[in-house]
Each structure stands twice: as C-alpha cells, then as structure tokens.
Point group: C2
Chain length 673, copies 2
C-alpha cells in the first residue's frame, strides 16, 4: 500500500470518494454506499460486480480517467472470461480491479444490487429489485478431526464472516443435502437465504440464478409469472383454466357444493393445488428453468380461492357475516401447501381486505398504487362480486358489491365465457338497427368478406361479458331499449331483429346455427349488475365525501376487455373524463409480481390493507336506494354524462375516436381500422 490516494466517481449515482491506491474497486464502491451486486463474495466467479471504466477527460468530474489508472487485467478475470464470456474493452470485475489513479466508473444496471426493474409495459409502478431471497457463495472451513463442530455450524460461521449473516436458522430440508453439497463443491457452496434469517437451499459451487413465481388464483383462470430473482425479469407468463370449474363455473356454486358436501373442501383444495403444480411445471419448462430453482412464491386471489388454496373451507364466506378465517398476510412453506418447487421455498400470501375483498384486491392496490397518489383513484375488479377501492394517499375505502356473474356472461340467455366463438364486440346502426359484431378467435367483423370461413372451426356460439355490455349499450343508443331498460316492441315494424319472445321482446344479434339474441331478461340482468356496481361505488364516494374522481382503473379479465366508452354509456362507472379511464390489465398478477420482487412492498400492502376503511354494502341502508336509482340507463341520479353528447353521432363513428382504454389494454385481437 502507498499513502497516495486517488479520486473515483461512480456513475450513474455520481457518488465520489478518495481512496488509497491499491483499494479494490468493489470495496471502494461499497464504502461510500454505491451498491454493487455480488453472489460470489468478491472471488471473480459470478461476474455480477462488473463495471465499466469510462476512459477520458471528464471535465464535469474534474477527473482524468485513464485505463492505466486501474490495475491490469488479472488472472482471475482472464479465467472468468474463459469460463463465461470474455470481458469487453474497459469492462472489469470490480472485485479484482485495484485503483491506481483517478477514475470515472460506470456501474451498469445489471451490476446494481437494487436496480430498477425495466419492464416492457409501462402501466405499473416502477419496481426496485429487493427480493426476500438472496444467493450467497461461501467457502466453508473443511471438517477435520480436531474440530468437533458440525458442517452446519461451520457453514453458518462462513456466512457470518463473509456476508455478515448472523443467527441463521436452517430449514430441515437443507440438512439432508448439506454434507453432499459441501463435499461435491469442495467446501465451496452457494446457499439461498430467506429474509436474512433462514437457509432455505444449498448447491455445490457457484449458483448464479434463482427464480420466483407470482401467482394470481382467479375463479376462472390461474396465472403465473416466473421471474428471475437476480434481474427482476419476467421470464415467462402462463395461465391455465382453474380446474375447480368442474365444481361450478362461478365461485358461489363452488361454495354451495362445499356446503352440501363439507368433505369436498379438501378435494377442492387438492384440485386447485394440482392445477397450480401443473402450471408451475408448464411455466418452468417454457422458461427453461428447473422447478427446483424456484425459491419464492407470492400468491393473490379472491377470498374464496385464497381460502381453498390454503386448505380452509370457504363455507363461512358463503353466508353472513362472511367471516374470513384469516385476513392478514401469511409467510408459509411451499411444502406445507403441497407445491412442487424447491422443498425449502417460501410462499407469501398477500392479505385480504375483507370478506369479499380479497388478496387479489390487495395486489391490485399494490399495482395501481392509489395509496401513494395525491389524486383520487377508483379501482374496480369485476368478478362474481365487484371489488371496489376508492381514495388516495390520505384515505382509502373498499367494499364489494354483488354484481353477480352477468358481466362474465353467466345468467344471460345466450351468454358464455370469453372463449373462441363468443361475440365480444357489437355495433348497432342507429338508423337501420342493423348489427355487426366480432367474435373471439376471428380477426374479422361479421360484415367483412371471409368472416364465415374465419369462424367455421368453432362457430358463433354465444355472447361474452364485453359483448353483452356493448349490445345493451348499443340497444340503448339506438333507442331499442329505453332508459328504464324496456325493449321497445313497436320497433318490430322497422326491424326483423326485434322479435316477440313470450310476453316481452328480444333483439337478435345473429341468426345462424344458433340464434344469438338479447332478451328482456338479459337487459334486466345487466341492469341489476351495473346498478350493484354503481351503487357500491356511490356508497364509497358518499363515505369518502368525494365528488371528483381523477382516475378510474378497471382490473381483471372484465376490465381488460370491455370498452370503457360502453361501460360509461351504461353507467357502470361514475362520470369521469374518458381519458382518465383505463384498463388495469391483470393488476392482481402484477401486484403479486411487485411483492415478489420487492420485499418492502409486502409490509407496505399489509399496512395499507389494515388502514383501509372497509364498508359492508349489505348492511348500509343507503345501498338499496343507490341500487334502485342506478337501475336506469345510464343512471337516474347522475347528470347525463357529457360523454353522451360525445357519442350521439351514429355508433360507427365511435370506433374512430379511440377510447381511453384502447391504448393500453391487452387486445385479444385487433379491431379493423
């Protein structure tokens, strides 16, 4: 060592310091709080601490950075280059390079420990990578006769010496692998440590990657995002149908099934866990990842799926007072839940907000962050119940409202789940009352040439949630349905599509192998559902004393696929600038990803959930009044929205406008220009 010093500036943070010549760049960086990653603990093995020596005369930094101001490429770096990939010009391993003079050093994003996760889509908040699980490479003192301590004790001593991890517990599953790993790795092993407190896995030698899964258990589909815990990258996203569907399409029928067959709760739990295991295997295979390398899982889901996944009977959620068994977040072991990932893996289950406002709503809040914004948000996820969250960083309120399954196409005469053959877009000409529509699985509108061929494989089989909303909204805009929701039978004179149907009238959307029509009862079902949704929102607005909503987010499958314009025409959501209404896509899944990649957000959502004011719509005397008022289309109690003025031109013109939702939602198929 010399007593001479040199100045080093680290980019992009701009932190600078003066260091003795001969100091390792990694030590220099860490001493002034520049967080450079490392798995191997500075042995030149993992390459995670790679930096770029930025050569040149940096007037801004008053520093002359020259390549020779770093020690020359050493043997360890050469070996690293041979084993992995040669280091590019000016790229160095900061654990090997020594300071020889003034330097400007760039720490690239992939070498930053708490880097921003760069995502392809811009809908959600930025995530700073800070996972619960970390990999640590250590060299353990060999076993020898003179030393009676067990291998685990010497492993823990090494982890404390090299990584300052004290008082670690060891998962029992690691005990069985410990000795073989140490000997196979010649006393060099990588361990995964959970929350700086539990050794959860061990591998011989250097292990550079570990993975996590964010799972959203929906009533209809289960989705999983497989993330690289080292980079935060979503490596693969997959989904399967919830195999519980054979016990009932909607949640309440599954609960009824358990009410009638109490022993079936276990069966439903097994079925959903089997489904998740199948999904895990699929997603891992697609990403080329070994399921044994999956160490952390976050789970969101509505209260009933949450309970069934945890092995809790959902019967209490099927009747008043709708008591959750557990509302708080849970830290569990994957093996206790029968999940086929690493035997030491952790599972974090997000908290539920209330009996009908589940961990999916909590995850949705985490993704849409109404609790962090000054502006007032309304975040809605529509399923069998609508979960509604309103508020801003000062105060949040939540409730659920019994919309029933009409928005999902159930209890609609020609309704069906969103699947190939389902009508999902409907346009009605206000003059001729003629109809054009599109179906899932075809790129064409029904009046375009080749449409018949394009749907031949599956046919036109029914109408899904977004289709029925557009149909009823279109019927209203073209005068087929009155503000009271009555189909005007007198129009039968003008159009053959208006037909008598028992003592009421129906409107035919499509005449083919099957006749797809909207009945008077269908209109009533949609009115009931939308009135429930609107009344729930109104109740929250009332309680919060809020008059102006700044942004509306529609989450979940429903929110992703409905056209927000039609939702407003029907009065599903309160008056708001159309541009401020957006689809939140799979916000619950994204919330689970956030909780997976940044452990601080777990505490954040737990605190937020506890502070949310929970409103029980079923016992609020105003709810019925709001509900009845909201039966009208759009809503009797609202000033007719300015939107309506905007869409008085014939429905065809609507398409050209480009509703707010259009920009962002994940499209199942492109609309024609």
């Amino acid at each position: 060592m010399t007593d001479k010093t040199a100045r080093v500036v680290f980019l992009p943070s701009g932190r600078r310091g003066e260091f003795a010549l001969g100091t390792r760049l990694l030590d220099a960086a860490r001493s002034i709080g520049v967080d450079v990653d490392s798995v191997c603990g500075g042995r030149g093995l993992c390459g995670r601490c790679r930096i770029i020596c930025t050569v040149g005369d940096f007037a801004k930094h008053a520093i002359q950075s020259k390549a020779e101001n770093l020690s020359p490429l050493c043997e360890v770096e050469a070996r690293y280059g041979e084993r992995r990939q040669p280091l590019q010009k000016n790229h160095r391993l900061s654990c090997q390079a020594l300071i020889r003079g003034d330097l400007v050093v760039d720490v690239p994003p992939e070498s930053q420990m708490h880097r921003q996760v760069v995502r392809k889509q811009a809908e959600y908040r930025d995530i700073t990578l800070d996972t619960s699980v970390h990999l640590h490479f250590v060299e353990v003192q060999e076993a020898e006769m003179r030393e009676a301590s067990g291998d685990l004790r010497r492993l823990c001593e090494a982890l404390e010496r090299e990584w300052q991890l004290a008082d670690l517990a060891c998962d029992p599953v690691v005990l069985a692998m410990l000795q073989a790993a140490l000997r196979e790795g010649e006393w060099r092993v990588t361990v995964a440590v959970h929350n700086q407190s539990r050794i959860m896995a061990i591998w011989p030698g250097l292990k550079r990657f570990a993975y996590g899964l964010a799972i959203d258990i929906g009533s209809t589909t289960i989705a999983a995002h497989l993330c690289d815990l080292a980079t935060g990258e979503i490596r693969h996203t997959g989904g399967i149908m919830n195999p519980q569907i054979r016990y009932g399409e909607d949640l309440m029928s599954r609960v009824s099934y358990v009410q009638m067959h109490p022993e079936a709760a276990t069966e439903l739990t097994e079925v959903v866990r089997d489904g998740i295991n199948e999904l895990i295997a699929d997603v891992a295979r697609e990403a080329g990842v070994d399921t044994d390398d999956i160490l952390d899982i976050t789970v969101a889901g509505n209260p009933i799926m949450h309970h069934l996944f945890l092995g809790i009977s959902p019967v209490e959620l099927g009747g008043a007072p709708f008591a959750l068994a557990v509302d708080g977040a849970l830290d569990l072991r994957a093996r206790d839940l029968g999940l086929h990932v690493n035997a030491g893996a952790s599972v974090y289950v997000l908290p539920c907000i209330a009996g009908h406002v589940g961990a999916d709503a909590a995850a949705m809040v985490l993704a849409e962050e109404p609790h962090l914004l000054e502006e007032t948000s309304l975040v809605v996820d529509v399923g069998t119940n609508a979960e509604i969250v309103l508020g801003n960083r000062d105060h949040l309120l939540a409730c659920s409202s019994p919309t029933g399954p009409a928005f999902e196409g159930a209890q609609i005469s020609c309704g069906q789940r969103a699947a190939a053959g389902a009508i999902e877009r409907v346009r009605i000409d206000r003059e001729s009352l003629e109809v054009r529509f599109s179906v899932i699985g075809s790129e064409l509108w029904s009046d375009e040439p080749g449409f018949e061929d394009s749907v031949q494989a599956f046919g036109v089989t029914g109408i899904c949630g977004s289709g029925i909303i557009e149909a009823v909204a279109g019927m209203y805009l073209s005068g087929i349905v009155s503000a009271d929701g009555v189909i005007d039978g007198s129009l039968a004179r003008r159009s053959g599509r208006v037909i008598p149907d028992g003592r009421t009238w129906s409107f035919v959307i499509h005449e083919g192998k099957q006749t797809i029509k909207v009945t008077q009862n269908d209109v009533r079902q949609i009115q009931l559902a939308k009135a429930a949704l609107y009344a729930g929102t109104k109740l929250l607005l009332d309680r919060a004393g809020v008059e102006q909503i700044d942004r509306i987010r529609l989450a979940g499958a429903f929110g992703s696929h409905i056209d927000t314009k039609y939702a407003m025409v029907l009065g599903l959501i309160p008056d708001c600038d159309l541009d401020a209404v957006e689809s939140a896509g799979n916000a619950a899944g994204m919330g689970a990803v956030i909780a997976l990649l940044n452990k601080a957000t777990r505490k954040e959502i737990e605190d937020t959930v506890r502070s949310i004011e929970k409103i029980e719509t079923a016992i609020d005397p105003n709810f019925q009044t709001y509900f009845v008022d909201a039966m009208a289309i759009p809503n009797k109690s609202d000033a007719f929205p300015k939107l309506f003025t905007a869409i008085t031109p014939p429905a065809h013109a609507l398409e050209a406008e480009g509703g707010g939702n259009r920009r962002r939602r994940q499209r199942r198929r492109a609309e024609p220009r």
Copy 2:
C-alpha cells in the same frame, strides 16, 4: 368493594399479602407471585386453580383462618362440581372464591403451575414442570358484518387480552380448523401455544390435557415415554426393536450398507420413522391417549441414529474426520419428519456433542447433571462406541472410544443380543472351576431345580454382554485367564471345561443343545473393548488433570445390566469406591423427558454441550499407549484396586455383598437370595 383489607398467607410458599375484601383469591395469589395454574382463564371450568382453605387458628401466621372468611360456594363452583367432581370440604376454585377475611390458603401441588414433578424412581434430578406447550382457553369475539377482520385476528386479540400473548404466529395447519372450532365451541376454544409464540393447535370448548413424548432412538431399541404435559406424569413407557436391525445389527454395518447403496439412506430414514410411528401409536393406545393430543416431542439418539432420523445420510460419520452434518439442537415440526402426531406438533432434537458423542450423550448429561455438581463424575454409555463424559460444574470433557460391539455380545463366538435364552450372569467356583449361570427369561440359576424346564421354551442360546463380562472376570478371578488374558491350558488336567480349541484353549460355560464357551479370541475381544474404554477415560482424566473420581455412572442397556463389581475386576472403569458406581439406567431417555418437561433445560444442555471440551481419541498420541497398557486385567498402569482385595473370597460370596449397582438398576429378573 370496601376499603377494609384482610391478610392471606399462601402455603407451601409462605408468601403473604394484604388484600381488599372482595378480591378473587386467584388474583391475590398472582399479584404476589404465587403461581396458580389455569387453563380456562378464571372461568371456573378447568379446576386447575383449586385451593384448600386451611381452617384454624394459625399462631405461626398470626392469622385466624375461618371458612366464612371466604365467599360462599357459588353457582359456577356448583356447576363445576356437577360436571367434573364435587369439590371436597374446604376445597375451592380460587378464580371464584372472594376474600372476606384473614385466610391461610394451601395451594396443592396439582394447582401449582411450576410444580415439582414427582417421579417413582429417585435416580434422576428433580424436574420443575415448565413445558414449551401451554393450553389457553379463550372467548373470541364473534364474527359480524360490521367487522371485516378474520377469525384469526380476533382469536389473537383474545389471546392477548386474556393471556398477554402478543404477536403470535399461527401454524398453517391450524388455519384449516379454526373456523369450525370457533363455531362448534360457540366462540369458546382452547388453543395450544408453543413457546409463547406459535398457535399450534385448536379445539372447540375447553381442552384440559395435552401430551408430550420423549424418544431415545438407540441402535437396537427405540424407547418412548409418554408424558402428561399438565402434570409431568409419565403415563406410559414403551419400546420397540429398531427396525433398521435388518440392515445390520450394529451401527457400523448400517453405515457400510449406506456407503455401498447411497440411495438406501432414505430407506433407512423411512424405516426408523415408521418404527417410531408404530411406537407412538402403541404407547398412546396403552395410555388411552389420542395421538392427535401429542403436541411436543423431544428426541435423543447417537449421532448415526440422529442423522438417519433427520433424513441425513450417515456416511460422513463412517470415516475420518467423522463430521456431523449438524451438531446444534433443532426445533422442528413433527410433520416435516413424517411423525404421526398432531399436525402442528413440535420436535426438539437435543444437540450432539461430537462426531461420536451424540444427542444421547447430551441427554445423559442432562439426566446425570455432572455439569451441576461440585464432585467429579464419570458418565459412560457403552454401545458400538463408548461415549465418555468426565468433569464437574467447572469443566466437562467428552470423548468417544472405539470399544466395538463386543460388550453387546457381537464378535463373540457364542455372543448374542440380550434376549431370552442369553446367559447374563456367570459364577465360577475358584476351587472346582464349576460354573453356574442364569439366562434371560428364567428366574432360576442353572444349578437350581427346575432350571431345565424354565428355559425349555427358548433354550440356552448364547451369551450376552453382561454374561461375557462376568465370565471373563470370573475366569480371571479363578485363575483360568492370566493378567495377560491367556487361557491357561494346563488347567485342562483339573477341569473338563478347559478344552483345546485349535491352537488355543477355550472354557466351556454350558454344554447342551449348543455348547456355550468362551474362546481365547473372545477374551481378546473383551480385552480390546475394555482397553479402549479405559484408555478413553484415562485420556480425559489426563486432560482434566483429575486424579480422583467421586462418582461413576454407567448408562444405557449395557450399564443397566452389568454388575459393576465385575466391570471393576476387568478394569473397564477406573478405581473408585464401589458404592460410588451406579447404573444410570436409560439416562438418555430420562434426559429427553427432562427436556420435554422443562424448557429451560434445553438452553441449559445447549450451553453445556457447547462448553464441553471435546477430545478426539483417534488423533491423541497418548491414546495408543493407554490402550496398550490397559490390555492387561485389570490394568497394568493402575495400582491393583482395593476392590480386588474385597473380592478375593470365593466368587459365591460376592452375591451376598450387594454391589453398588444392585440397589438401583432396573432388574430384568431377580437374583436368588
């Protein structure tokens, strides 16, 4: 309330205080630190807080105690009497009785929370009952619409309010039972809490009893003590053969088996766990206890059994440097070990001391408490290896010594395990060289009338560990074997029992269907074993600088069954007053019981084990010297023990003396008067 006060003295503690009239006796007791038990939290349900109002004029206490100085028997106490058993005269529930005047109150042992456990045998230390698991009865706030919190949160609030238990975690297995228990118990439940931190089980209504198991996994047998955690009483003790025996009688052959078939480690683990489950079911059935009510388990075992039980391959323990995977104590879940008890039950595995000094030795220390005594103890457990602990409260040392399995009857020409038909006692007449013996399974000596009939069912099949020791010692005392261990062939002229056997001589113990004899090689095996044991002890004495041993404890099956006199004749143990040598019985099992009933002893043994000085005999240069020196009978390096003088009279006389061991050891059968 009145502002008048009364004086109350609590017996047996003698604590006294002055209390406002109208104070509940239970509150009064607790306010001055008199610990009165309660499961129901003062509701008059459990009867655990029952006290006796001692009526009379107590000059000693300056108090006039009268029955009317307590409030009259109330309705709750009457109901308790109807439901359980009527309260005797002057017996009251202290949670119901109010102070009306001066009182002398006796808290009977069964109402003391930290009572002394009364045991039938007096060999071991006293145990103050203070278990890891406690039962708590609580009334939980009912679920209601206005309150969104889950049942678990309200349960935790009740536990904090009524029992001051804060921040409890809940085992995931409890989640599944929670709602049904609360509703079945009409919001009154009993929960079991582990270490004041984890809810491990739940039952509707009042649950008064929970059980624990202390298990000692030996190479040959597995023993279990089922204890009532409320009283500390051992309800039943049971044992089974270790089913691993089919993989090898002694431990090293099982390790060799795994070395040759590495995948068999899992198989051996399954086999021992299956055996333990069978034992648990047996013991519970015998005691009339539901296995689901077993909530806590402590486990001791030698290092190889310890590892196999935990699912760790024992191959590293089969060769230098004999590294343990884990030496520290472990807190685990029974379900992670596949044990069929309550799904939330805990398992505490005692620490190992060193590679060949296992958790059984640690448990033996806990039971024999050398670490607490001023006098210097030598505690020895002989198996395939001898585990030796020496020292006192200032310093303990431990080592293992490779005695081999000769003391267990293995590698002896006619040797066998201690089972029906095995010769266990041998007396040789010094004049005639005639032999009398007894066998396991018969009450008679071989020269008594009816002996032949008494052994007919199994025959005389071999000689077990204690038998071979008495035989060789007797041969030495009668001059058949020299101090160098050579059988004197010239005696063939005097006795037909001395017979030529290849190039050496043998001594016939029994001539029947099978000839049971002691060969020259058998004497050598015993010499090697006893030399190893003695050399290990000598090494510890040397290191400790100890010359005088105050007490010797021989633990385990071997220690229980050998006659200490003969052990000293052979020089197995160093010179010591014969009265100071005792069998420690199943000290490992008793240590596990102690750790089960008093949680503070867990920390105590962990600290003790860490502070023990571990001596590795295999690398100590003096060990070989001591070993060679100790080959002689008794031992070349010792002054001939004064014992020898004591037993120069003919061997017959020995029996009348009553060796130190005789008083205390568990006898397999009575010796004749």
